[in-house]
Symmetry: C2
Subunit: 523 residues, 2 copies
Amino acid sequence: MDVAKVLIAGDWRKANSDSTFQAENPATRQQLPTPFPISNWKDCDDALAAASHAAQDLRKIEPERIAAFLEAYANNIESSAAQLIEAAHEETALPISPRLKDVELPRTVNQLRQAAAAAREESWKHAALDLKLNIRSCFAPIGPVVVLGPNNFPFAFNGVSGGDFAAAIAVGNPVIAKAHPLHPNTTRLLAEEALKALATAGLPMATVQMIYQLSNEDGLRLMSDPRVGAIAFTGSRPVGLRLKEAAESAGTPVYLEMSSINPVIFLPGALAERGDQLAQELADSCLAGSGQFCTSPNLILLPQSDATETLLQKVATIFKDRPSQPLLSSGGREHLSQGVTALRDAGAQLVTGGDIADGPGYRYANTLLRTTAQHFLSSNKALQREVFGNATLAVTATDPAQLLEVIQSLEGNLTGSIYSSNSGTDDVVYDQLAPALRQHVGRLLNDKMPTGVAVSPAMNHGGPYPSTSHPGFTAVGIPTSLTRFAALQCYDNVRQSRLPNVLKDKIENPATWRLIDGTWVQG
Amino acid sequence: MDVAKVLIAGDWRKANSDSTFQAENPATRQQLPTPFPISNWKDCDDALAAASHAAQDLRKIEPERIAAFLEAYANNIESSAAQLIEAAHEETALPISPRLKDVELPRTVNQLRQAAAAAREESWKHAALDLKLNIRSCFAPIGPVVVLGPNNFPFAFNGVSGGDFAAAIAVGNPVIAKAHPLHPNTTRLLAEEALKALATAGLPMATVQMIYQLSNEDGLRLMSDPRVGAIAFTGSRPVGLRLKEAAESAGTPVYLEMSSINPVIFLPGALAERGDQLAQELADSCLAGSGQFCTSPNLILLPQSDATETLLQKVATIFKDRPSQPLLSSGGREHLSQGVTALRDAGAQLVTGGDIADGPGYRYANTLLRTTAQHFLSSNKALQREVFGNATLAVTATDPAQLLEVIQSLEGNLTGSIYSSNSGTDDVVYDQLAPALRQHVGRLLNDKMPTGVAVSPAMNHGGPYPSTSHPGFTAVGIPTSLTRFAALQCYDNVRQSRLPNVLKDKIENPATWRLIDGTWVQG
């Protein structure tokens, strides 16, 4: 079978490549037929050159055309939904329904459309005008953005269609996407739709480029190339940290979403009030997507009590009874297995699961582990290991003081949840714990599981290091996620006719919010 | 004489130190009497522990008290102005008037008062409310901020009183300031006023701490300590890059303002129209503060023409006629001298100056160098060296295309200026050059010199790498400069009574701008 082509400078072209890889259907363990190229540096160099030109051209283009592209692309994805869903299901084994068809694909086109609306509205530019001094500033495109998507969202976080992509494009940057090697064909199909949409909207054809895979060496070289404006990555911490070092050595902003164990804390009053319901909620959240979510609860903190034992028993029963689902890959199961072993080696006790599971594909038994807060504190680093998949660790504490100590020992996380009673009996403890948890998480939840990340302007899908590389930014939530891919540009005493439209005294766009002499004004 | 004490945890205490240094009066070359300690790690460790506690306490404190501190501090500085100005003049040789007394000190208290107003208003928090989903987010303190000020602004950029300090405090972070070793006594006096103001406002006494100097090793260790929330540095590129690497290895946001040659471009029409006036403006800007400003024009781009020759002659005459002023230090003059030598070694021709100058203190002759654009392009890296002081390089281009090539070859800069004719004859060339210059600078100016950075919400004192470490942030301009020291914090389904005041449905502060369901609303 022919080697798949890469998308560079508007053309599907033969890759500069010495080797190939093939994806697999993880549900059947069957290798899929198409060979995909591992590109040489020449492909990166060509893509960077084309992206640099596209970046220049995009700066002259009206936001309306960028919005039109994003909308055309969303429409194309919907038109090709059947084929895309089939490809993604084949490469990831993620369920078609409820997931790829009725959750992830709609979310993806929704993100693209929200990004289009943000591009059109222009409020994300945070135009600030000091009319007296004639100093004006706004956010503007940062330059070509390299997006590296994760394994777990073939659409919604894909480098060529996901949230980072949508945000980078909405700002007016070209994107060079690197496909995740677990779903290259899905990525190829998406890129085809993107290319058609570029033609429809009349954007530079190198606005969207896509390669499949690189050697580690070329990958790091790409991170540190001075033509790159910014980098977005979602994936594992070890890989993220290597990319970070390479990017930062060149002074390039790099936004990484790396790891999170998402502590969920149950207070005594909540357990007394609705323990059964909470067990169900917790189990559903832990097993959603086989636990292969950035926000999957990996760490559950509870008081030592009969109610906790009842809850853990119920969770264990659900874990045992619910068939485990195929994981994304053999490697993913291997990592999960190693992670569970590492937690057990660090002293966590197995409640249920703890081994590979029967059934087609790569399955691992739904796994619940437990330990005491005292032990967690003594093996603190080892027990904070992110175990990506359907496994979670429950930690029981003798009293709120010990719970607080556990919270204070946590690394940075994307989320942290506290369940408390509706009657107010947990309020004193909540007030002790929440301020500490607040400092360790990007999103603090009450009475809600962290899985399911709404695309809202108020969302923060970010958090303190090492959950991400910068606590001031979010990867989800439009338009706030756009700022990552923007540079602040100031105009001092610049003549009216030479200003970008958004900074002129009078603006044509009635939707744009601007900060004029300290007051927010629309239109 | 007794060794000066460091300010740690609210007390002036004997430093943990094995060695000391003394400052010098650069106007007289006389060593000043007070020995200042080079602190050991123990001082850093104590300061970090105290700052961590202060950070927790500050999170519970109303913005009003933070504002009250900043205002009390500003008042104290004004009350002690005579003593502060004398100390700063003695340590820096900067003129009392017009500079320390009537420019820099007023600017410093103005910054503190603007920061107070921003803290009180709370709009910098960018509170975003999604009422339907009950998701809310805002910026919040990032944790203890280490501020390292530069040599050239003893008040306005001082680690314990300058713009970075004011921004970090306004957000609600404690600051650990490292004095610049060229003006330790000024810094000590400022810290005394800060400490009094902390008591007045009732803030935690470790909100402001100050040490004088550290070994390189301890300095890098401080950068990478996990208790540090963020770092701000203004200074040289070699030092900045070392701090950057240390901070980033720990995942800590680090905001560096490192170097800039601030290109100023004169187009033919402008030269024809007002060449004499431009020569004067240029010379004044180059020699202001003996050229020891981040925004001093180090690179002048001009067309090859008689008008250019006339302008350069006039600039040379002013450079020759105006007595050079004392530089900040012997080391500064040595760097300046090395820089001029390096430019000459790289092929720049000396027009005037080029050697140390007579007079008390450390003076260097006002220096003008020149070369052709063709040569500049051939020795591009060497000729973009920042020469900190009263020296500047003029580059003449045969045509606009060559000018464009020079602009495209530039590293990231804080500023870039274009002078064009009022009659419109330069407009075609302007439109060719400005888009390229725009991408290499943080602030684009028309018909205006870059020196003099207004403290305006629309200001950007930032720029692409390596002028700073991140193109999305500004070091000057309140409230925009505050965002550097803030983390994005989201509240998902959190009960109303548990939300921070700024995120509640109803807000008491009538001044605060918030983004509620996509609309900016005040109060």
